[in-house]
Amino acid sequence: MALVEIENLSISFGGRPAVRGLSLNIERGDRFGIIGESGSGKSLTALAITGLLPETAKVSGQVRFDGAPLPSNEREMARLRGKHIGMVFQEPMTALNPLMTIGDQIGEAGTLADIATDIDGLLQEVGLLPPHGARFPHELSGGQRQRAMIAMALASQPELMIADEPTSALDAITQRKVLDLIGDICERRRMTLIFISHDIRAVAALCTKVAVMRAGEIVEQGSINAVLQSPKAEYTQLLLAASRMERRPRSAQAREALLTVDAVSRDYGHGGFWLWRQKPVRAVDRVSFSLGRGESVALVGPSGCGKSTLARMIVGLDSATEGQFRLDGTLYHGRDLPPLLRAGVSLVFQDPFSSFDPRMTVGTSLGEPLRLLGQMTREERERRLVEAIASVGLDPVMLSRYAHEFSGGQRQRLAIARAMVTKPRLLVLDEPVSALDVSVRGDVLNLLARLQEEHGLTYLIISHDLDMVAAMADRVLVMEAGRIIEQGRPNDLFARPQHELTRALMAARLPDVV
């Protein structure tokens, strides 16, 4: 008998269906992956199993756990969850009560399931130390918090663990470690796992079975090998294709330098009165490198390594404490970048949702950087906007619309259009595709490659996605704790990583799906 049986499940909100006629069996011992993009209904399905759907949801169909239909009584349902199901959520910061220690929160889970909890033991099982139990969530790192969440889920010794995007808020190295931890624990405790993710490679690495969801329906399900090796549904094929990045052939000839970074450092003083001022934190530490014209250079490193700070200084949003930059022969320190040179440097932000002012039309937003070029006639301005939006493959009529009318992929194209409107020579790309659904990432990367070719652009790509870096970059700089610790051509570097961090990054890479 299957542990979880879902029969013809439909969920809708205010008449709008979110999950439609979904049926699914999860056997004991399965590691069941559910793949889908945002809004596909995969998380709602998991919530339906645990009876945690929002009150406003309308549900039909049936869910059986261990052969019995889910109890309708709230208290019984709650106790069932507590005893038999452990859950791990995406964002461990908000999923933990900020006012309670980790140990108390784990202990509470045990108490609710009437199990004497060995908190220290659980902490050790998930790779934490007993002293961590006395800490509050904000005193732990993201990875540690997610481990604490897992410990909490294990406290009731559940038969089923549901992990909902447990790693997408974590950086690459931690992500891999947490995935491995979940895999190990399920193995050891013979726990059934439902793993929900948008990352097909994470599912491939962890699961034995998989269901692919799209727009509230399952388009394909089966054993992981069967689905991945011979995908039947078109959508599955698309997902698989998008997860493989083709390496673009690049010529690697020596080029004249466009931007030189010369021993740049950035210190942050922590605010406060002069008497209580704390020792400054050095975010970027004497970094030097240069970018050749037409070159694509990637800056990789774990979060907090200083790569974003460096990018912000290069584009003129922040100033260096020491050292200087030289762009096309002109010296600057950051914010003092003169307007005309600013026009030659653009930044594409990671999050396409927050990079447009919701109160402005796309045209106004796109036209904003044009002021850097001085006075301009209306016609000239109009021409530039049309040119820019056309160059990213969008229709100029969209200029009069507002950003919220566009999808994530379209917005990122618009962001690129805004970056292109001043005809810059250097584009800084801050995680240009990581906030996008997998299926559109490839398009955006293709667009970037095309633009580079057409306009002879120089790219500085900030990323932690080694596959993307390998596909796009001529040269890779690896950063840790404010310093560049290693650099080289991607193939060389990935084949023979010298530095410990680089090796860790390589190790954390999920295997390619065949």
């Binding site: 995007e165 912000r312 447009f356 002012d357 919701p358 402005m360 937003s365 950087p369 002021r371």
Partner: protein, 279 residues
């Protein structure tokens, strides 16, 4: 944000419009001139001649209430205008410039918070003599730090958005960023806070006039009407009940409209927030 889904906003707004219309009409027309005193006609009951009766000086109560609503709304609104006019630029400047500007704005608003509004009103009343202007200034001063904080809080959240960074990249200065990006995006917050402060202002005006340092005769306001007849409360309770209930309904209408506005605006903000952590 359909109107049908927000009956509070609609009802509140309609009520406010009716109140405001009554008040504004009193500028051109009231059933009787409010300064026409006719002691012989005092304490008339409700009737065809005086729909809501007359007060202790024989003035027509309907006319008084109409004009009182106008005064109360004007005083409260002027206080809000002062609060927004000074507070919002302060809050925006704190965010756009940061550093010592922010420190100064925060300390100034702390200082203003430290002085209870009523005490400020009493002191101003002794400086300038009691009157509407005094009530407006006192309420305005009280509003400044409120709006400064709301503006700063809202703008802080906006300032971390990438489009603000994009604007900086486009060469916009602090003032331009505050005006083009911060202000329009906190406008809804300010409007919501404005309705709240408006209703507080009406209560404050009533309280100030009640202790005798607000509106002065021969002008009239709802608070002054309450003060004038407090001695005859037991004999002619209607004279207290009428302005009292008018205040209650006016404030409720404003609060309901404010809540409705917040509900209308909030989901959008919340959706934005959710999109943020898109997963």
């Amino acid at each position: 944000m359909s109107w049908r889904h927000n009956p509070g906003l609609v009802g509140g707004l309609i009520a406010i419009i009716i109140f405001a219309a009554l008040g504004l009409t009193s500028l051109w027309w009231t059933p009787y001139p409010i300064q026409a005193i006719s002691v012989a006609d005092r304490f008339q009951p409700l009737g065809p001649e005086h729909w809501l009766g007359t007060d202790h000086l024989g003035r027509d109560l309907l006319s008084m209430v109409m004009h009182g609503i106008l005064t109360s709304l004007l005083v409260a609104a002027s206080g809000v205008v002062i609060g927004i006019g000074v507070g919002v630029p302060m809050g925006l400047a704190a965010v756009a410039w940061g550093g010592w500007v922010e420190w100064l704005v925060l300390r100034l608003s702390d200082l203003a918070f430290a002085f209870p509004a009523l005490i400020v009103a009493i002191l101003i009343a002794t400086l300038h003599g009691p009157g509407e202007l005094n009530a407006i200034i006192a309420i305005g001063i009280f509003n400044i730090p409120v709006f400064a904080r709301v503006a700063r809080g809202g703008a802080l959240a906006i300032a971390t958005q990438d489009y603000v960074a994009a604007a900086r990249l486009a060469g916009l200065g602090n003032a331009a960023i505050a005006a083009r990006h911060l202000l329009p995006n906190i406008a809804s917050l300010i409007i919501v806070q404005g309705t709240i402060q408006l209703s507080l202002g009406i209560l404050a005006e009533a309280a100030l006039s009640y202790v005798g340092i607000g509106t002065q005769a021969p002008e009239t306001s709802l608070g002054l009407m309450l003060r004038d007849v407090q001695g005859v409360f037991l004999i002619h309770p209607w004279l207290s009940v009428l302005p009292g209930l008018t205040i209650v309904f006016l404030v409720i209408a404003l609060n309901i409209a404010g809540d409705g506005l917040r509900d209308a605006i909030d989901p959008r903000l919340r959706r934005q927030g959710m999109n943020h952590g898109a997963g």
